[in-house]
């Protein structure tokens, strides 16, 4: 990862972004949300780099930090050979043309009171390029390129459908033929039939302009479809990075395994055949993340080493260098997570919230369920505790 490489457009080293939490008292210790906590990755020119993770994993914060929409807490961001993490707003300005973002909610990222033509024309205005008729011509070119009718130049965002609005967002990002576009959940607000249209559009534009994408999404089938490499994020850290096909065939990190198994498959055969791993509990608080491997409280394979030692992202079990996982006990191919039980103390595990009940508790509840099901009258006294 450390060799200078012309192929690499973006390198992120140990990026950290904390947000302060409003504290309630003068003497209270200042607390931080550890949104991104030591992320390193590199993105090659022309590729699509997918980032998947659940709510609160820090994937959006990571994307916004890379675009320098946030000032980062620590770490470095090398874009096209320049270390940009400490650039002032002014020095960033010319680079902003090269790094663009497309957001999830096209309505929220378009000013409803402005006409589409002027929204897409903004980049030209801000950077003082192209005015008047020239600007209009270029805006209409962009509109045509993303599949919008250029005659709709004077319409307002509300007059477009969701898919079309996302096209407006893409057109605006494309204005200066950027090198990198960070797409943050670009299709998750769209219906499936429209989603496919936008994904194809992004693929066409990539082929035409040689764009590099960072594609942030929670939908694993979409990420797999568009990405060359995929990084999996959990509680502010990367748990695994791999070429898309490898990740989806041989996941090494138990979190990746559980995540993949939870994806509902639109195929009754596949969905009946596979065994779902239902994780216990919810994602812990990013204010005080767990020690060692952050996934240990919910991991079926958790062992004492997972609590004490932070795992390093590295190739596991003879994987090629491009496939790295941060896990002490990586999964072998064909291994079934359901066969494992954590060997750490109960106090270190999440039993809070979560999966179905197990063991005794489930039995008690079945009894309770029967009582509830059969009686319209209040249930008998003194059955519990």
């Amino acid at each position: 990862m450390s060799t200078p490489d012309n192929d690499v457009l973006l390198r992120v080293d140990n990026l950290v972004k904390y947000f302060p939490v409003k504290s309630s008292g003068y003497f209270q210790k200042k607390e931080f949300v550890h949104a991104v906590d030591g992320v390193s990755l590199s993105v090659r020119r022309g590729e699509t780099f997918g980032i998947v993770g659940e709510t609160g994993s820090g994937k959006s914060t990571l994307g916004r930090s890379i675009a320098r929409l946030y000032d980062i807490t620590a770490g470095s961001i090398t874009f096209d050979g320049q270390e940009i993490s400490q650039y002032s707003q002014r020095r960033m300005r010319p680079l902003r043309r090269q790094i663009q973002m497309v957001f999830q909610d096209p309505m929220g990222s378009l000013n409803p009171r402005r006409r589409v033509g002027s929204i897409i024309g903004d980049p030209f205005a801000i950077h003082g390029l192209a005015t008047g008729a020239e600007r209009k011509r270029r805006v209409q070119e962009l509109m045509e390129r993303v599949g919008l009718n250029p005659e709709h130049f004077n319409r307002f965002p509300a007059e477009f459908s969701g898919g079309q609005r996302q096209r407006i967002g893409v057109a605006r990002a494309l204005a200066f033929q950027p090198k990198l576009i960070i797409c943050d959940e670009p299709v998750s607000a769209l219906d499936v039939s429209i989603q496919a249209q936008v994904i194809n559009l992004l693929a066409d534009l990539q082929a035409e302009f040689g764009l590099t994408y960072i594609f942030i999404a929670h939908d694993l089938s979409v990420v797999r479809h568009v990405s060359n490499n995929v990084a999996v994020m959990y509680l502010g850290q990367l748990t695994e990075i791999a070429p898309a096909d490898d990740l989806f065939t041989v996941a090494r990190h138990p979190y990746t395994g559980a995540l993949l198994s939870a994806v509902p498959l639109p195929d009754p055969d596949l969905s009946e055949r596979r065994e779902q791993i239902i994780l216990v509990g919810d994602v812990p608080s990013p204010i005080a993340p767990p020690s060692g491997c952050r996934f240990h409280p919910r991991c079926p394979k958790a062992a004492p080493v997972c609590v004490s030692t932070i795992p390093v992202l590295e190739p596991k079990l003879g994987d090629k260098p491009a496939h790295v996982a941060a896990c002490h006990l990586p999964m072998a191919q064909g291994e079934n997570l359901a066969d494992f039980h954590p060997t750490i103390a109960a106090a270190q595990r999440v039993i809070e919230g979560g999966g179905l009940l197990s063991g005794d508790e489930a039995e008690v509840s079945t009894v309770a369920a029967e009582a509830l099901a059969t009686s319209d009258t209040p249930q008998p006294e003194g059955r519990r505790q």
């Binding site: 499936v192 194809n200 989806f248 994806v263 919230g353 309770a368 249930q379």
Partner: protein, 346 residues
């Protein structure tokens, strides 16, 4: 006799722009203990149809029938509806935070629900609330029963909603996009809880979703809606492996394949129809690759399709497999390349 029988349901709303015909002649039935999946995109009418049945679409013009246990819900009195709603038919929604009152404790809200419908003491209602929370997998329910909704995570809130919905052992649970706001791992948890409740209590479930993956996971029967109408109904396997309607086919094709080669996606071209002035004929005709002249003028009725009993489809294409394949091939060839779902390519 089916548990719920919906016949020719029509719902329209008067808006500033004109009359929106949200549901246009929808019929279906739900058997006791069965899971009926209703799938469709935004604006297909999938939520409005069930909300209307529950009497939740005030100000709408409604016609048709929705017979539940011998009573037409659409003409039932307010008092009757209040006795049915929650007790016999329960509902859970997409966003549990807006369905739970932020000011009241979760347990209190479940107790209120129980006491509204049954004369039980406060103590007994509370015990049942605790038991229900335990049932849906809330840890330490005896403590959590006194928490406020904001102290629950998203997944736990949806579990609490399920607990509340199941409190009176309803015959039918309507789940409207119950997992859409949740992460996949939590979604898997919640779907299991619903399935488990269904097994324990024998509840019938109407599961409304846009996610074909969720449908493949849990539905027995599937209803595909588009433009306020039912396009197709089939059992789960038939729908995924032997669908008849071109819209169903288009939906399935526009999904990225989970395994295998990463081919270019095949979206359905165009936009869903406006329900302000829906086109005459089949609502899908403007986007259909196999469209015929007849489709643009005459709306096809739901008719038996394929070999499976209960498989119905609203499409003018022949219902016999071999004839249909033949005609579809001809139609695709006759059509200029631009309008068909783009094949192959870059």
């Amino acid at each position: 006799m089916p548990l719920l029988q919906v016949e020719e349901l029509r719902v329209s709303f008067r808006t500033a722009d004109g009359i929106v015909q949200a549901v246009r002649g929808v019929s279906y039935d739900v058997e006791a203990g069965q899971t009926l999946g209703i799938v469709g995109e935004s604006g297909s009418g999938k939520s409005v149809s069930t909300q209307t049945i529950m009497g939740l679409t005030r100000g709408a013009q409604v016609s048709g029938r929705a017979v539940f246990e011998g009573k037409d819900l659409l003409t039932a009195s307010t008092g009757d509806m209040q006795r049915i709603r929650g007790a016999k038919i329960a509902m859970i929604f997409q966003d549990p935070l807006t369905s739970l009152h932020p000011y009241y404790k979760v347990g209190w809200q479940i107790m209120e629900m129980i006491q509204q419908h049954e004369s039980v003491s406060k103590d007994d209602a509370r015990k049942r609330a605790v038991e229900l929370l335990r049932l849906v997998g809330i840890p330490h329910p005896d403590r959590r029963v006194d928490d406020y909704p904001h102290q629950f995570s998203g997944g736990m809130r949806q579990r609490a909603m399920i607990a509340m919905a199941m409190a009176l052992n309803p015959a039918l649970l309507i789940a409207d996009e119950p997992t859409t706001a949740l992460d996949v791992t939590v979604q898997a948890q919640v779907l299991r809880v619903i399935q488990r409740m269904q097994e324990m209590f024998g509840t019938a479930v109407i599961l409304i979703t846009h996610d074909l993956g969720v449908i493949a996971d849990v539905a027995d029967e599937v209803l595909v809606m588009y433009g306020g109408e039912v396009m197709e109904r089939a059992d789960r396997r038939t729908l995924f492996f032997n669908s008849h309607h071109p819209y169903t086919e288009g939906l399935l094709q526009s999904l990225p394949a989970y395994g295998g080669a990463r081919e270019r996606l095949r979206p359905i071209p165009g936009q869903p129809p406006s329900l302000l002035s829906p086109p005459p004929g089949c609502p899908f005709a403007p986007r259909c690759p196999y469209v015929m002249d007849r489709c643009r003028t005459e709306d096809p009725p739901l008719a038996a399709a394929g070999e499976e009993p209960g498989h119905i489809s609203a499409c003018w294409l022949p219902h016999r497999g071999s004839e249909r394949a033949e005609l579809r091939r001809k139609l695709l060839e006759a059509e200029p390349a631009g309008t068909a779902p783009s094949a192959g390519g870059a």
